[in-house]
Symmetry: C2
Subunit: 142 residues, 2 copies
DNA sequence: CTTATTGTAACAATGTTTGTTACAATTGGT
DNA sequence: ACCAATTGTAACAAACATTGTTACAATAAG
């Protein structure tokens, strides 16, 4: 199963915020216009980003601004903020037969192995900053 | 969203096959007993492993045996067999606003970045063989 | 030919995602 | 103090994937 587009939407939103004039606040309506979705979808994601301390949201006049330096905000921060409810990327079947050698031990073996794979992915996400994404957006592909 | 347990079940099943006496065939019923699920679930996964050339399934008397050397069969082979319908791990939102600089370019930027992350995960999966999993199952944790 | 087994369809239950409407709560500006 | 814009959140629907289940035709070993 694929990782939900919440993550890519969150990166999109943060890129908009990073591209904003310093001090400018963006509304969920405006960001929804760029992502092309419903403002409530944006607000739900903003709630998660806010909880993770990545953004500050002001009701009433204005909206949201970045709380972190794009140069040190990595895609791993975003991923963790948005997938906080599912810290384990891989799901492992729950009740293998304990009377079978394989059934008894497979969970532990898989758990350590798949954790290594997840860590490899996360390290790669940690290697990309929001500033780099913004630079990529601004540079034409040529 | 998590990667489905089809993958961990597939590894479990292949470990059972690798642990079998050479020439022994295992039925879906027997493997379902070890995984603790319904035999049809096992058969569905076996169908995918068969299509990928990892196992040979014989109707009637017997069942399934391994077609690949456990020493060279990696978890990436299993992952690809079972997730063949979803080659992209990350999903990216589909219709960002083309009139916005960020909306116009975010997909391409994310695509290359997330592809690198997926590749890192896959390399880690490729680094573990079925033989290593089997060894892990046999070695007590101590 | 018999019998065990696979392959597959069909269906239900569950859970997640995404989009939507609606509205109370908040707060900045006047 | 009030107004108006905006957020926060609940509630719901549609779509989809997963997992488990029953049922049965197709297959092939002995």
């Amino acid at each position: 199963m694929q990782i939900s587009s919440r993550f890519s939407v969150a990166v999109h939103v943060l890129t908009l915020l990073a591209a904003a004039v310093p001090g400018e606040l963006l509304t969920s309506d405006r960001m929804a216009g760029s992502v092309n979705t419903n403002p409530v979808v944006i607000r739900r994601i903003l709630g998660q980003l806010k909880q993770a301390g990545l953004v500050e949201v002001r009701a009433a006049a204005g909206g949201t601004y970045l709380r972190r330096d794009p140069a040190t905000l990595t895609l791993l921060d975003v991923y963790r903020a948005v997938e906080a409810a599912e810290p384990q990327l891989f799901s492992i079947h729950e009740h293998p037969n304990p009377h079978c050698l394989v059934g008894r031990t497979i969970q532990a073996v898989l758990d350590s192995t798949l954790q290594r794979a997840q860590t490899a992915l996360e390290q790669e996400l940690a290697a990309t900053t929001l500033a780099q994404v913004l630079a990529g957006v601004r540079e034409p592909v040529s």
